[in-house]
């Protein structure tokens, strides 16, 4: 364990240095050169295009062939920069020509030229993400049209790393001809002809440019992942291609069930490039396993003991489960090494919340044998389903698949969105198994029976759009100019109830007016990359004189939990948390912790300080980052940044009131009997306060950030509020006449009475004066 930690520190330090270097290089700084990339886009690149036409002159737009393009690539001079190609370029070119997609370059070009929309299927490792955009580049010649080629990626890291790779392949500087654009970071220049970006980013651009006029070709990569943004983009592009016949679309998918894409895009032509794969032998268990985690650990150890050389990939569901399994496996493996001279086994973990440099570690080679001629070492990667499609890890020969993953689920009736462990789909299981055959024939061990595979698993994983709260998507669609939400052509339309709920929430938040049109508040809220409730809370916070504080709380709510509670030191961790505790609730506690984190005392040695106080440095730093980015948007939108003086006794009250402005729909009232028993307003669900809360008194009314779905329903991150505030701040939602008779209604009535009495007194005293 000890040397693992020191390893990771080394890794992080090395990584950070590298990042610093690239950050300080002024040439790479994308911000200074082109403040208004949108308007002057490619303005001066046309002249460059003219004088570098030497190589491009041989090419005629949309008439090129693979041989012609290869000639350009083999030239001595780089047509993009007019500089001679480096030797590295040619060595990369050689490996590029070996990629499976290269063999079908002519076929691809023909189909691309013939059709407006093309569906391209290539398994991971076929080279589609890096090569296809380059093929397009040499045929589409976007610089001659003063346009660009865009290639979307579901993940930011992928957009960055692929852009970097392609810049190297084309022998250009990243950020010039090839760039990337992800949220809060624009690494492009007026020269840019190929732009990698997240799908969400392209959607954001579409909000201000409904026809996406800057692009001549748009490539949607990893479309099989069916992220929310990709789905919306596909629906949008279907409309855009009608308005813009010159725009070409390529949908790239890694799975072979592309017929659905084809049908959706009016029978667009399909080109499939086989990946480079080896046979994978599938094993099932004869009987269902009683404990899949334990079975997975046993299987990994057994593979290590009995199977030939080759790395193992184990799929589990969440961070905690993964770390736990990793610990157990390394302990057992160490014993195996001691007792029976097994080869060394190194475990790596991989999950979304792991920082990028830690994620990179999975690419380290397997450990060498302990002595020359000894048993070969092996690495085992324990991962969530992010290793299923997106990441390509070479050397995996064995896959262990328990058949579960954590999936987002949204129930519009009780308005709960949560991550739940549920069985994967058949398609997922096949993807997972395919990971074993990347380098040589492999084996996949499924920890369930063949019968269970056939009967218990659904065919396809449901796309994100069917599993999420749609309120921010609806806001986006409205901003995209789509008013007829009912007939918007989505590949998988969401359930009507889900859309209804989203509209309703937006109406209560005053983002939509009573006719369903976007209000100015809604327009403003859509500028924030946040949940509408959070955005509205942030926008209205200046009215409560606490925008600084609400901004911090918003940032803290959008990052993973900042309080750490290791199993071995729970008591100590709770004591430390109590240092920051505010009796009125968890939101204020978060704020206190953040303020302490920003104090000079803590800033002296952040790492130690966070460690001592059981806080997650990573979460706090990313909250800091999010805060800075949101601050930029707030300043751009001219929202006032103010605070109530800390000495004012209303300091905390103002913050609690401001919280109500966004979260008035997530409120629960205490039940008359039962400790910690609450009932949510309007949806009438019985809930319990999550044990982690610091709420010191039994508050009658609480607002909560999160509804946690387990066998018991919990509300997490709660803050005490007053019904008077709710009636005052959200009168339409708390229209007492709409509440059924009962405890909640009578309590609201009493509060309304108090409110009117107070008003009357104020009016009276005013009169007297």
């Amino acid at each position: 364990m000890v040397d693992r930690r020191s390893d990771s520190e080394d890794g992080s330090r090395a990584k950070r240095q590298k990042m610093d270097k690239s950050g300080t290089d002024p040439r790479d700084n994308p911000y200074l050169a082109h403040m208004y990339a949108d308007t002057s886009s490619n303005g001066n690149s046309s002249s460059q295009a003219d004088n570098k036409n030497s190589a491009f002159a041989k090419l005629q737009r949309h008439k090129t062939t693979a041989t012609l393009a290869q000639k350009v690539e083999d030239d001595d001079f780089n047509p993009f920069t007019n500089r001679p190609f480096s030797s590295k370029y040619f060595s990369i070119l050689k490996t590029r020509r070996d990629l499976p997609v290269h063999a079908q370059r002519d076929e691809f070009l023909r189909l691309y030229q013939e059709s407006q929309i093309l569906v391209f299927v290539g398994e991971t490792g076929s080279g589609k993400t890096t090569q296809i955009p380059q093929f397009v580049l040499l045929d589409d010649l976007p610089q001659t049209q003063r346009k660009m080629v865009a290639c979307t990626q579901p993940r930011r890291v992928a957009a960055m790393s692929v852009a970097q790779r392609v810049a190297a392949e084309l022998d250009v500087t990243l950020g010039e001809e090839v760039g990337y654009s992800i949220r809060f970071e624009d690494m492009t220049s007026p020269k840019t002809v190929l732009k990698y970006m997240t799908d969400g980013m392209l959607l954001r651009e579409a909000m201000n440019d409904h026809d996406l006029k800057r692009y001549s070709t748009i490539i949607l990569d990893e479309a099989h992942e069916r992220t929310m943004s990709t789905d919306v983009l596909m629906g949008l592009l279907k409309e855009v291609v009608v308005r813009r016949p010159d725009l070409k679309i390529i949908i790239m998918s890694a799975t072979l069930d592309a017929q659905k894409f084809q049908r959706y895009f009016n029978d667009a032509p399909l080109l499939a490039v086989p990946g480079r794969t080896h046979p994978v032998e599938i094993f099932y268990t004869p009987e269902p396993e009683q404990d899949y985690v334990e079975a997975a650990i046993r299987t990994v150890l057994q593979i290590h003991a009995t199977e030939d050389e080759g790395d193992i990939l184990l799929f589990l569901t969440g961070e905690e489960e993964i770390e736990d399994a990793a610990r157990k496996i390394s302990l057992e493996a160490d014993e195996m090494v001691r007792e029976a001279d097994a080869g060394p086994l190194k475990t790596y973990t991989l999950y979304g919340s792991l920082p990028p440099h830690m994620q990179q570690r999975i690419f380290e080679p397997a450990p060498p044998p302990r002595r020359p001629g000894g048993r070969p070492g092996r690495k085992v990667i324990i991962s969530t389903n992010i290793a299923e499609t997106s990441l390509t890890i070479d050397g995996i020969v064995y896959v262990v698949d328990p058949g579960f993953s954590k999936q987002k689920i949204y129930n519009p009736r009780i308005r709960v969105e949560s991550l739940l462990v549920s069985p994967i789909s058949k398609a997922s299981a096949q993807q997972r198994a395919g990971r074993a055959g990347r380098t040589r024939p492999g084996k996949c061990f499924r920890l369930y029976t063949e019968g269970a595979f056939k009967k218990e698993l659904i065919d396809q994983t449901y796309p994100e759009i069917l599993r999420s709260n749609l309120s921010s998507t609806v806001l986006e669609l409205k901003k995209l100019g789509i008013d007829d939400l009912v007939h918007f052509d989505l590949m998988d339309p969401p359930a009507p109830e889900t859309l209804m709920r989203a509209l309703e929430e937006l109406n209560y938040l005053a983002c939509l007016d009573d006719d369903g049109n976007l209000t100015p508040l809604g327009r403003l809220a859509s500028e924030f990359p946040l949940d509408p409730a959070l955005a509205v809370m942030l926008i209205s916070s200046p009215e409560f004189y606490c925008s600084n504080e609400i901004l911090s709380i918003t940032a803290l709510l959008s990052v993973p939990q900042i309080f750490v509670r290791p199993a071995s030191q729970r008591k100590r961790a709770d004591e430390m948390k109590n240092l920051f505790a505010h009796p009125d609730g968890d939101h204020l506690t978060l704020l206190n912790a953040y303020h302490a984190f920003k104090s000079p005392d803590a800033q002296e040695n952040l790492k130690q300080w966070c460690h001592d106080h059981f806080l997650s440095l990573r979460s706090l730093q990313s909250a800091d980052n999010v805060r800075m980015q949101l601050l930029r948007i707030m300043e751009r939108e001219e929202l006032e940044m103010i605070s109530t003086p800390f000495e004012d006794k209303k300091y905390y009250e103002n913050i609690r009131r401001a919280l109500c402005a966004g979260f008035f729909m997530q409120v629960a009232k205490k039940e008359t009997q039962g400790k910690n028993m609450y009932m949510t307003i309007k949806d009438h669900q019985n809930v319990l306060l999550h044990p982690s809360t610091v709420l010191a008194h039994e508050a009658e009314w609480v607002l909560y950030n999160e509804f946690v779905l387990t066998t018991k329903n919990y509300i997490r991150t709660v803050t005490a509020v007053k019904p008077e505030w709710l009636i005052d701040i959200a009168p339409t939602y708390y229209d007492i006449s709409t509440f059924p008779k009962g405890d909640i209604r009578s309590s609201l009535l009493r509060a309304a009475e108090r409110l009117s009495r107070k008003e009357k007194m104020r009016a009276d005293s005013g009169k007297r004066r």
Partner: protein
């Protein structure tokens, strides 16, 4: 569920599915959707979409998932549940059968089958199932090991017994506690494998002793390739469950030693020395 089971008390809400909301047609969302031409019961999405037949049920209503808070494997049912099957309906089934004109003999056979399943399930839940790997039919061999394996059903069991088992299997396919699945499968596949399978088996048995297993493991890779059915968890499982056999094997070795001793005076002495 027995009295000793941990009590789980959860209060179920008055309206856990909030049907109150879903049935109402006066909400803002409902109003907007209707005004855009949506009718209750229809899907969203383009009119006459070309891909409409590929929509899933999730486009009609939200996805429902059973909350999972344990590590029970896929398709497995918790041990306790296996006995919770309603069995009281059996008598009723017989009555229905008679009404449907089945002969008494048939009915009796049916009843018998059901009883067998019940018994098997009872045994399987009470004591953990012991699993075996078939090694084909009994052949004359030089090795003495076969005596030890006589216990295993694959070798000498009569064919009638086997078929009845297989029928049981069909009936209780969903149970997941069936002892013989693996057994019969391997029987079908490698009916005539003899020696190699036996070697495998030996290997596997040895594994159950944690300390012993390590040396044998070196042999495992090759055997793994030969025997398709030998998935890791299966063997691991047998490690867990066949513990009694370990003792038996040690005893077997003891007996063999004694036998040898009878033939060899030296070792005879050895034994006596130890004893005294």
């Amino acid at each position: 569920m027995g009295l000793a089971a941990p009590r789980k008390r959860t209060k179920i809400s008055h309206d856990p599915n909030n049907t109150n909301w879903s049935r109402s047609t006066t909400g803002f969302g409902h109003k907007i959707l209707s005004s855009q031409g949506w009718t209750p019961g229809s899907f969203l999405g383009a009119r006459n979409a070309a891909h409409a037949d590929m929509f899933t049920a999730a486009s009609a209503s939200h996805i429902r998932v059973i909350v999972k808070d344990d590590t029970l494997g896929l398709g497995a049912r918790s041990k306790r549940d296996a006995l919770d099957e309603p069995t009281g309906l059996d008598a009723f089934k017989g009555l229905l059968g008679r009404l449907n004109g089945k002969s008494d003999a048939e009915l009796q056979a049916d009843q018998r089958k059901r009883d067998d399943v019940k018994l098997a399930r009872y045994a399987a839940t009470k004591w953990q199932a012991v699993r075996f790997v078939s090694a084909g039919l009994l052949t004359q061999e030089k090795k003495e090991e076969s005596t030890q394996k006589a216990r295993e059903p694959g070798d000498i069991e009569s064919s009638s017994l086997r078929t009845s088992e297989e029928e049981d299997q069909k009936q209780s396919a969903t149970e997941g506690t069936n002892t013989e699945t693996e057994d019969s499968k391997s029987r079908e596949r490698g009916g005539k494998k003899s020696k190699k399978d036996k070697k495998d088996k030996k290997d596997k048995k040895d594994k159950k002793d944690r300390k012993e297993k390590k040396e044998k493991k070196r042999k495992r890779p090759e055997s793994h390739c030969e025997n398709e059915t030998a998935t890791p968890s299966e063997t691991e499982r047998s490690v867990r469950e066949r513990r009694p056999l370990g003792r038996q094997m040690i005893r077997g070795r003891h007996i063999a030693q004694k036998k040898k001793a009878l033939m060899d005076e030296k070792s005879l002495n050895e034994i006596f020395m130890i004893k005294s």
